[in-house]
């Protein structure tokens, strides 16, 4: 039992009215309930002078003469005769904290539907007035929400993130909870904390304070998806339109929970990332806790029907060194991942692709590789308004396991993103190299809705290239932005021509609508692109 509690302070009368507005009964019935109105008025009339008295004077000293003892907010005749008598007998007695507290305990024991607290008001001639404030729990929305709302907040703490990453204004508001009751304001602050620190869940925990009747409020930040040891493979879903290349669609449907996920994906005439156009499906299973959260496994099986556009077929016929095109591609790819730290992961696995020849069906070739690589993800929350992210990785695929096509593919990428308020800067670079006879889906291309925007891949390298280099710089303000892309894709022994492009438009994380222009080309033909990625 709490020895002594302090229930109200300045402004709590107003809170009580607010609580009444959240009363679950019909509003008209509430207004008609004079008991509640009376209680609110009573508490309102008592709270302010009592709080003022508390602010000006310390607790009465032990032994102070009690001028009067009253019960407020509750009809005294509802208390047992013995308890009534003991309260009334305080008059003229010496103030003893323990005795008062025992009476509070007895009130709550007799009437578990109420909470009781004591107010003392100093009177002239070294006397003190003792008031037992009693409130029905069900009449107070804050108490209904949490019985600990009866206690005074002793301190407010933030755990899980450095305090400095929360804005000063929000920290000030958190500190204003101290000295008051736990009310809905504390719940509202959770939403605001979450808004300031996306990537974290925020919850509120309450602990006992250092003194009876006081509580510590702890706002805990816990990491969400972005900071897990092993993230799930990001969705490749997109529906995009490129004025030179037409529509492409990929739709991933993930299902599962925190550690295991199955993704069913479909491709609809997708030509946005490779020189081939493919339609079909893929199924991927991922587990990112295999014994420990640092170890994950994934298995992807995909089957696509492939078509090749005329420029690609023409380019292929002109270059017999490139392996022949295929009509279907069936791939099985198991991968294991180990997180060395939360930022660094290594992965390895194998990939088996069966390619049914386009012109000699049902002849087929196997493209089997061993895969290895390293991934790095880091995020810095610089302050409440600024954050930056780095993603980088390197992957090598090397043919093995009786592959019909012998090749090795290296690919490295890095991107940096800086967000400040509504401003975003994104810089990215990637480069890759293939040696040997790599199948078409392993060759590089540029000139789509995300690389060398403004160029058409079927003009640049319709059969792709075995080398690639690309960099991009993008600035966004309120999702309106402009970009500058530069890159080159080429085959060994051919000219390495650097192309650049620029453009502007709506550049959101999930939606884009842009007009882009090649820079170092004779004409000024614009390319229109629109789409969603999610």
């Amino acid at each position: 039992m709490c020895p002594l509690v302090t229930v109200r302070r300045h402004g709590n009368a107003g809170r009580s009215r607010k609580c009444a507005s959240r009363y679950n009964g019909p509003p008209l019935a509430l207004l008609a309930d004079m008991r509640i109105v009376t209680l609110l008025l009573l508490l309102a009339s008592l709270a302010v002078p009592c709080a003022v008295a508390r602010a000006q004077e310390p607790e009465p000293a032990e032994g102070t003469r009690i001028e009067s003892a009253e019960v407020s907010g509750f009809a005294i005749d509802q208390l047992s005769p013995g308890l009534q008598r003991d309260i009334e007998s305080l008059k003229g007695e010496r103030f003893e904290r323990d005795r008062i507290n025992r009476l509070v305990e007895r009130i709550e024991e007799e009437h578990p539907e109420v909470v009781a607290a004591v107010r003392t008001v100093s009177r002239p001639d070294d006397q003190v007035r003792v008031i037992f404030l009693i409130a029905r729990i069900s009449d107070d929305g804050d108490l209904v929400s949490n019985i600990n709302a009866r206690y005074t907040v002793e301190s407010v703490e933030i755990q899980g993130v450095p305090e400095g990453t929360i804005s000063q204004s929000l920290r000030d508001r958190l500190q204003r909870l101290v000295g008051g009751r736990l009310d809905t304001e504390a719940d509202d602050l959770i939403d605001e904390l979450r808004a300031e620190r996306p990537g974290y869940d925020v919850s509120r925990r309450i602990q006992r304070g250092t003194k009876p009747g006081q509580i510590r409020v702890v706002f805990e930040f816990s990491e969400t998806e972005r900071l897990r040891w092993i993230p799930f493979i990001r969705s490749r879903s997109r529906y995009v339109y490129h004025s030179e290349q037409g529509w492409s669609g990929v739709h991933d449907i993930p299902m599962g929970g925190r550690y295991n996920r199955a993704t069913v994906g479909f491709a609809f005439s997708n030509s946005d990332d490779l020189v081939e156009e493919y339609s079909g499906f893929r199924v991927r299973f991922e587990s990112r806790r295999v014994g420990t959260e640092r170890v994950g496994l994934s298995l992807e099986v995909s089957r696509f029907n492939n078509t090749f556009r005329e420029p690609t077929l023409t380019a292929l016929s002109a270059n017999p060194a490139i392996p022949e095109p295929y009509r279907t591609r069936l791939t099985v790819e198991p991968i294991g991942t180990v997180a060395l730290t939360r930022q660094v992961r290594v992965f390895g696995g194998v990939s088996f692709s069966n390619l049914v020849a386009l012109s000699h069906s049902p002849d087929s070739q196997m493209a089997s590789t061993v895969i290895g690589g390293l991934a790095y993800t880091q995020r810095w929350d610089l302050d409440s308004k600024s954050r930056s992210n780095v993603d980088a990785g390197y992957e090598i695929r090397s043919s093995a396991l009786d592959s019909d096509l012998s090749y090795r593919r290296h690919f490295g990428h890095a991107s940096y993103r800086y967000d400040h308020d509504d401003n975003t800067v994104i810089a990215s670079v990637f480069l890759g190299r293939v040696t040997g006879n790599a199948p078409l889906f392993e060759r590089f291309s540029l000139g789509d809705t995300s690389t060398l925007r403004g160029w058409n891949k079927f003009d640049i390298a319709p059969a792709g290239g075995d080398h690639v280099f690309h960099q991009s710089l993008e600035y966004r303000f309120h999702n309106v932005g402009l970009f500058l892309d530069a890159g080159s894709v080429w085959d060994t022994g051919t000219d390495k021509r650097i192309r650049t492009s620029t453009g502007f438009g709506i550049l959101g994380d999930n939606f884009f609508l842009t007009l882009a222009f090649p820079i170092n080309e004779g004409g000024a033909n614009g390319t229109f692109m629109v789409g969603v990625r999610f």
């Binding site: 539907e113 600990n148 206690y151 990537g199 602990q207 969603v532």
Partner: protein, 198 residues
Amino acid sequence: MSPALVHDMRARLAFITVVVALSPLALVAQSFDVRVVADTLQLRGSGLGLIEGRVADHLRDGRSVRADFELTLLEKPRGSAIAHGQYGFIVSYDLWEQRFAVTRVGAPPRSISHLTARNAEGWCLESMTLPLATLGRFAHDVPFWIRVDYRVLDRAPAPNPEEDSAFGLRTLIDALSRRRQDEPPGRSLEAGPFRVGH
């Protein structure tokens, strides 16, 4: 509960009795009992398993939970429903008293504090009543079964959507899959046969 109300209930109980017939099958897990108070059927008992494990930890961290109950009267085990009612409770744990407080939401709300976990569960059960008038012939010496389903919501804000899933279908699917994974604790209890006798 005020002494006057307790006295009134006892007086009514003197006139109306509830015959609880325990079949051997029901002996397995009879978590609750029924009685008639003021022309309503009221549950009685404890052992709902509501304030245990994760929920109890959550409460002891000073958080509150909402428990939504559904009470269904059945004509036979897993049979069709005769009547049902829905009830909501908010439970919190007084950190200094080290006792639980419960409020039955609705009009009018009723609250109680200073309860042990077992008593808090019992109070929830007692607060779930069904008017005898809704039971039809089952209010007259015809056996019936009772099922109590409940689901606990921790009243914590929903987790943030993932960074890359703020759009449409993906968000929906993620939300659905999270709900499956983080299924709120809940339970379904069935007991009987009971019989209301006069």
